[in-house]
Symmetry: C2
Subunit: 175 residues, 2 copies
DNA sequence: GTCTATAAGATGATAGAC
DNA sequence: GTCTATCATCTTATAGAC
C-alpha cells in the first residue's frame, strides 16, 4: 500500500502498473492479488489511507490556540512538502482529479477526501464570527490547491510559499 | 485533433487509446499515424491548440475598458463552461497536471499553457498600480484553478460561481 | 491519402505448485 | 500465505494493399 500510494502520486493511478507496485514493494506480482482482488480495490485502500492522514493532520492543528493560527497551519502543511508538490503535484488534488474523471465504484470518493478539510475550515471561520464561513473554507482550499497546481506547472516552490503569505495576510485581515 | 482534445479532457491522456480517438473521429486507426508519428506527437498538437485558444480568449478580453473588468472576465470564462469543468475538470489544469508528471519531450509545456495567462493578469494588475502584480496574478489563477478542482470533486458548479463572486469582490476592493 | 491486418509488447488478472 | 508461470486482452505502432 505504501508503494502504491507513492507510485499513484508520482505517476498517476493509470500510468502505474501493478508490476511496478510489486517491484517497489519487493514482492512478487501475484502476491498483490492475495490482498487486493483488483487494482481498483488497491486504489480504494490507498484512498482510505489518505483520508485517514487528512483527519490526523487536521486533528494535530487543534493544539493551536486561535482560529487564525489553526487556519494558517493549513497552507503551511502544503508548504512543508513543497518539494513533493513541485515534482508530482498535490497528492490529494491528484487523486481527486483522477477519481473525478474515471467512473466506477469510487465515484463519491473525491468528496470524502476534501470534505473533512472543508468542514474543518468552515468551523474555524465560524469561530471567527463569519457567517460566510463555508464560502471562505472553499476559497481557502481552492487557493491552496490552485497554488499547488501552479507550483507544479512552473516547477517553482516559491509560488506555493508566496501564495501562503498572501493567505496569511488575508486571514489576518478578516473580521 | 478535435476528438483527441475532447477525449484527453474527458478521460485524461493516458486513459485514452488511439483506437478511441479514431472511433470518435470516425476514421480508421491506421489513419492517425499518417498525420502523427506517435501518440505523444498528437498530444503535442492538442497542446498547441489549447495554447492558441488561451491566447485568443485573452485577446478577446481587450475590448473591456477597465483592468478590473478585464480581470473579472477571467473567472467568468470558467464559469461559462462550469458544466464541463464539473464533469471533467479544467481542460488546462488537467493537461498541465498530467504533463507535469510524465517526463518526455513535452516537459516544459505546462508553463506554456499557464504562462500567457499569468503574464496577461500581471499586466492588468500593474495597470491598477499594484507593485505586487505578479503575485496577484498567481493568486487569481490559483483561485480559479483550485475552484475548478473543488467544483469537479464535489460535482457542484456553485463552487465555481461562488468563488467567482468572491474574486469579483476582491478585485473591486483592490487599490 | 485511406484503409485493413497484424506485429510487438505491456497489463490486469488467474491457476496452481510450494 | 508466497511465488512462478501464464492467459486474455488491450495498446502503440507498422506493413502493405488499394
Amino acid at each position: 500500500m505504501e508503494s502504491a500510494a507513492q507510485l499513484f502520486h508520482e505517476q498517476g493511478v493509470h500510468r502505474t502498473s501493478l508490476a511496478e507496485v510489486a517491484e517497489r514493494a519487493e514482492v512478487p506480482l501475484g502476491n498483490i492479488y492475495y490482498y487486493f482482488k483488483t487494482k481498483e480495490e488497491l486504489l480504494g485502500a490507498v484512498l482510505e489511507r489518505r483520508i485517514t492522514e487528512v483527519r490526523e493532520t487536521l486533528d494535530s492543528f487543534e493544539q493551536k490556540r486561535t482560529p487564525q493560527a489553526r487556519l494558517k497551519a493549513l497552507p503551511q502543511q502544503w508548504n512543508a512538502m513543497s518539494e513533493l508538490v513541485v515534482r508530482y503535484g498535490c497528492p490529494l488534488g491528484g487523486l481527486s482529479f483522477e477519481l473525478g474523471k474515471c467512473p466506477g465504484n469510487l465515484e463519491g470518493k473525491p468528496e470524502a477526501l476534501f470534505g473533512p478539510v472543508i468542514d474543518w475550515a468552515e468551523a474555524q471561520f465560524r469561530q471567527l464570527g463569519r457567517r460566510d464561513a463555508r464560502d471562505l473554507a472553499f476559497s481557502l482550499l481552492a487557493r491552496i490547491q490552485g497554488a499547488a497546481l501552479l507550483a507544479q506547472s512552473f516547477r517553482d516552490p516559491g509560488i506555493l510559499a508566496r501564495e501562503g503569505r498572501q493567505i496569511d495576510r488575508w486571514i489576518d485581515g478578516l473580521r
